[in-house]
């Protein structure tokens, strides 16, 4: 069964003035697949994610079901955004502080399904709210009344409201504490399986990436240095940077005998 990938990125570059955040980068993403993207801070992971969704100016080709996201009209792009979703690193900052949770979740429905009746909209919001583990009485609360983990649940609920086919997660758990990280990651995986969503998961947490990814991309200074299936990458990293990255993961109970790889 051969079908063309959902998302084909080729020669994607992101420039901020004289600074090149992403050098030509190419990769594919298949339906329902989870692609991990790792690299140190400033390696261009977030820029890459935003460029795919055309949130920052970029050059190259991003084919979404054989349609170039970077070249289509603004009208068309807005239509396409129905199937493209993103979750941000800072859960509180990505929620409008003057909107109640109910309004935040209603927004995707207002934009893409304006014909929906009020009752039907409420029903879908409540269903999604329940799905991400929040209570119905939180509908009229404001983002600042929630903890970081709860805010990220709201962010997840908003992103999954229209059952997108691609979900870009830009370090969705980096700002949360460890016990919450697991809950959010599991929630994402559950929803992904339920909706058959392809996921680009950006993180610098190797354990999380290893846990959820089918394939992993490694970025270093704006370039892809390695791309391999999850098992291969963690078992036998090829590029020295990947090895350095893996060696940098602290191991509980490790002694001085750890292999030290550095660039």
């Amino acid at each position: 069964m051969i079908h063309s990938p959902l998302l084909q990125v080729s020669d994607l570059c992101v420039q901020f003035g004289a600074f090149t955040a992403v050098n030509p980068v190419s990769f594919d993403l298949n339906e329902g697949e989870t692609l991990g993207l790792v690299g140190e801070s400033g390696s261009g992971k977030s820029s890459l994610a935003r460029a795919i969704l055309r949130l920052v100016p970029a050059t190259g080709v991003v084919l979404w079901k054989s349609e170039n996201i970077l070249a289509c009209s603004h009208q068309r792009l807005r239509r396409l955004r129905r199937d493209l979703s993103i979750i941000f690193q800072d859960p509180l900052a990505s929620l409008n502080p003057r909107m109640q949770v109910g309004d935040l979740l209603a927004e995707p429905l207002h934009i893409f399904e304006p014909a929906l009746s009020h009752n039907e909209r409420q029903r879908r919001i409540l269903k999604m709210l329940d799905r991400v583990g929040l209570h119905a009485n939180m509908l009229t609360q404001y983002p600042h009344e929630f903890s970081g983990g709860q805010c990220q649940r709201i962010g997840v609920a908003r992103a999954m409201m229209l059952q997108p086919q691609l979900l870009v997660c830009d370090e969705p758990v980096s700002s949360l504490d460890v016990s919450i990280q697991g809950q959010i990651v599991n929630l994402l995986v559950d929803l992904q399986i339920e909706f058959n969503t392809a996921m680009l998961f950006i993180s610098h947490n190797m354990a999380v990436v290893r846990h959820i990814s089918d394939r992993v991309l490694v970025m270093y200074r704006g370039q892809l240095v390695e791309s391999a299936s999850c098992d291969t990458l963690f078992a036998a990293p090829v590029h020295p940077y990947t090895r350095a990255l893996l060696a940098a993961v602290p191991v509980i109970g490790a002694t001085a005998a750890r292999p030290s790889a550095m660039l």
Binding site: N96, M99, E107
Partner: protein, 283 residues
């Protein structure tokens, strides 16, 4: 459902400020008096009482605040003046809110060449000396309070547009705007639903300041003879008339002067209180 929670929060913090609450009470009582004034005093604002010219405040003939040089009752005139001044102030801040917010938010959000064009136009308009502009309008269209409203309104929104644009520029960098773009919201929707509600704090504060600035400006114009015309009264014309009688009949100056001072002080306290109440950092 427009922001009840945020407002409830703000209302609670506002109530804890004594000065702001007192300001609000004073403004409300003055406004109420200005509205019901003509009914609680038998005198008319333009009726001449030749038997009682320039009398000091007295209970005779219900001249509670005395009369001016022409025997007109000062209580009624002062309240009529308050009404005119408040009306002009509210009108100007309504204009500055409506035009200023939409203009500034559009310029700030769209940015680039459009922003440049829009803000340079604002600078050209604000480069015009205001008094010159008002004189120009008065000469062209004659003395008419409506034209006074129009000319004050025409320039009153400029500062608001700048404030709003500046706030919008920094809002535009926030992640929730990026989230709105990513969710497919149209530009109009982003400005209306995401940018403007987050501007309301500074906008409301500046709007209360606009009221007092406009009242002061109208008083100044009336003092020069460009504002409200006799026999109509505004606080400015009353003060202007009173200034000439300062030594012989000080109450003619004192009464409108005290009302103006009370009004301006209360408005400033109210603005301060609102700023504190709506400040997100204090949450």
């Amino acid at each position: 459902m427009v922001l009840p929670g945020i407002w409830a929060d703000a209302a609670r913090r506002f109530q804890s400020g004594v000065a702001a609450k007192a300001g609000l009470v004073v403004i409300f009582s003055l406004a109420l008096l200005a509205i019901v004034g003509p009914w609680i005093n038998p005198n008319r604002f333009d009726a001449l009482d030749w038997a009682n010219v320039a009398v000091a405040p007295t209970f005779q003939h219900a001249h509670w605040f005395g009369t001016d040089r022409l025997g007109r009752d000062l209580f009624v005139r002062a309240l009529a003046g308050t009404r005119a001044s408040l009306l002009i102030g509210l009108f100007a801040s309504a204009i500055s809110i409506i035009i200023g917010i939409s203009y500034g938010a559009v310029a700030g959000y769209l940015g680039g060449r459009i922003d440049n064009l829009m803000m340079r136009s604002v600078e050209i308009l604000s480069g015009l000396p205001l008094v010159f502009f008002v004189i120009f309008v008065t000469v062209l269209f004659g003395h008419n309070p409506y034209w006074l409203f129009v000319s004050i309104g025409a320039v009153g929104w400029l500062t608001m547009a700048r404030i709003v644009r500046g706030q919008t520029l920094s809002l535009r960098q926030r992640e929730f705007i990026e989230a709105a773009i990513a969710s497919g919201a149209s530009t109009g929707r982003i400005i209306y639903k995401h940018v403007i509600p987050n501007l309301l704090g500074p906008v409301i504060v500046y709007a209360t300041l606009t009221v007092s600035q406009t009242i002061l400006f109208e008083s100044f114009l009336s003092f020069l003879g460009l504002g409200v015309q006799e026999p109509q009264a505004s606080l400015g014309t009353l003060i202007s008339a009173g200034a000439g009688e300062m030594e012989s009949a000080p109450w003619i100056l004192m009464i409108p002067g005290i009302i103006l001072a009370l009004l301006l002080t209360s408005l400033n306290f109210l603005g301060d209180g609102l700023r504190d109440a709506l400040d997100v950092k204090e949450r």
